[in-house]
């Protein structure tokens, strides 16, 4: 039987409240969105197994920043190590999928990560530079003609917003396809590869989490990505 496409979703760092040990976490909203739209979600755990992961999977999702630190007083060394592990692992995963020519989708922090892996930079003081807080809010985005996001969502969809950083200089091959009213990048696609980035959270624009309530349908973004993974697999 023809199998549904396997979609890897990368983890975020997390601390255990029983052993204080480092762990990996994934917010269920990502997994639910992938499974609801025809993918088989799995989370890769180990940097030395990336070859196996690439040969198994039909696509990769780099999710938004997610972390749970059980105590506010977690020492800086512990936090620092946690973020470092994520940066190193996500970069290695992205490079391996990029080289294999397999589809990659970045959401929020994942979209920024892809941009940086391709030589782009970030604006890390978005609120100062754009004068607006992009946190727990909603706004329209203006989608470029001929782009994937425009084909999926039309000219001016409403999206949610949960970020403090934004893309500044676009990485090599990255074409910004949607911008916020303040002018920061909200979506990109790659000029020649199946690589997509979204600064908003489509996994929170579907199912039980319809944020904002007048937002576009997040399922469409996932269905598009998973159908690309499926086509390229066959």
């Amino acid at each position: 039987m023809d199998r549904r496409p396997v979609i890897l979703i990368a983890w975020g760092p997390c601390l255990d409240d029983q052993f204080y040990s480092h762990g990996m976490m994934l917010l269920r909203s990502y997994e639910l969105a992938v499974a609801a739209n025809g993918g088989v979600p799995l989370i890769p755990l180990d940097a030395s197994s990336i070859e196996e992961y690439v040969s198994l999977a039909d696509g990769l999702i780099l999710p938004g920043a997610q972390r749970e630190m059980v105590k506010p007083g977690v020492p800086r060394e512990v936090r620092g190590e946690a973020s470092n592990r994520r940066e190193i692992f996500h970069e290695a995963l992205f490079k391996a999928f990029y080289e294999a020519g397999k589809p990659v989708m970045g959401i929020c922090e994942g979209c920024q990560k892809i941009n940086c892996c391709l030589g782009g930079t970030l604006d890390v003081e978005l609120q100062k530079s754009r004068g607006v807080l992009h946190w727990d809010s909603a706004h329209t985005v203006s989608c470029a003609e001929g782009s994937v996001i425009r084909a999926l969502w039309g000219e001016e969809p409403v999206v949610n917003s949960f970020h403090n950083f934004a893309i500044e200089k676009a990485g090599e091959g990255i074409v910004i396809t949607a911008v916020s009213p303040q002018g920061n990048a909200e979506a990109f696609e790659h000029e020649s590869r199946p690589i997509f980035g979204y600064q908003f959270h489509p996994e929170r624009m579907r199912g039980d989490e319809k944020l904002p309530c007048d937002g576009a349908d997040g399922d469409i973004i996932f269905r598009h990505f998973i159908s690309i993974c499926s086509e390229r697999k066959n």
């Binding site: 199998r3 040990s21 088989v40 799995l42 755990l45 196996e52 105590k71 007083g73 970069e91």
Partner: protein, 275 residues
């Protein structure tokens, strides 16, 4: 290629109430060190694909109890709590019972650790009882393994291991043979008479590095203010999302020894060992 080993995670609510999957890193590191490629399972509806894709399943431990209703008992089994206060994870029970059944059907290796051991037992018709433990990660227990068992071959006649169980095996399920016992006769490990299926009540994953962290951190409650220079350097790195060179990013060498159980389990999954 290394065999793909599926690990079933714990489920928790985040600080803003959104559910997430959680797994201690030592599981993945132990599987990798033993020669497997670890993957964390996610969707409860994908168990048949998971059993097809992966060569073996590890059911991880967790703080929440397995619901007494799953083995034909009631909340009276857990004294002092009303049915609404039980620290159970019913969603996790459902997900793991289905997942475990899919791997058993495929006759693929399954290893249950702590709570995971109880999932195997309950799936095969066994029952549980509550155990007294404060969940303190310093609780070492003396174990004795039964002659002729696989666990004896791997662990030796007697050994000390970390154990912070809140539930224990009462009646073992169909085909499960208890092969390791604790000081007071509690079942600490079992193996299936025909299938490559094992359950252990202790933590066989290498926790050394994590315990060190625990001891370092258990008394630290106050956040140290971050000096302005460090903040600046951190912002500068964030522009290109480069890792901080001050941290190795993997202190994971402490986990390089997977121990005999993980080594054996991964080779079972590779199809290299039988029995």
């Amino acid at each position: 290629m290394r065999p793909l080993i599926l690990i079933s995670p714990d489920e928790r609510p985040s600080s803003d109430g959104r559910p997430y999957y959680y797994l201690r890193r030592s599981y993945g590191l132990a599987v990798a060190a033993a020669g497997g490629a670890p993957l964390m399972a996610a969707d409860p509806a994908c168990f048949s694909e998971y059993a097809e894709i992966c060569s073996g399943l590890i059911l991880s431990d967790g703080i929440k109890l397995l619901s007494p209703g799953r083995y034909g008992r009631t909340s009276e089994d857990i004294p002092g709590l009303s049915p609404f206060e039980l620290p159970v994870s019913v969603a996790r029970d459902s997900r793991e019972l289905c997942l475990c059944e899919a791997f058993l059907r495929a006759k693929k290796p399954v290893l249950g650790i702590g709570r995971g051991m109880h999932v195997i037992n309950v799936l095969l018709g066994g029952t549980l009882k509550t155990a007294k433990s404060d969940g303190h990660p310093d609780a070492m227990t003396h174990m004795t393994a039964v002659p002729g068992s696989v666990l004896r071959r791997l662990m030796g006649e007697s050994f000390e291991a970390l154990c912070c169980a809140r539930q224990q095996t009462d009646r073992p399920g169909r085909g499960l043979v208890p092969s390791v016992f604790g000081e007071k006769g509690a079942v600490m490990g079992f193996e299936h008479e025909e299938l490559p299926v094992f359950g252990v009540q202790w933590h066989p994953e290498p926790l050394a590095g994590d315990l060190e962290l625990y001891r370092l951190n258990r008394d630290k409650d106050e956040a140290r203010p971050i000096p302005e220079e460090e903040m600046k350097a951190s912002r500068a790195r964030a522009v290109t999302k480069k890792p901080d060179p001050a941290f190795p990013g993997d202190l994971e060498a402490a986990f390089s020894d997977p121990g005999p159980l993980f080594t054996y389990f991964v080779s079972l999954c590779e199809g290299g060992l039988h029995g």
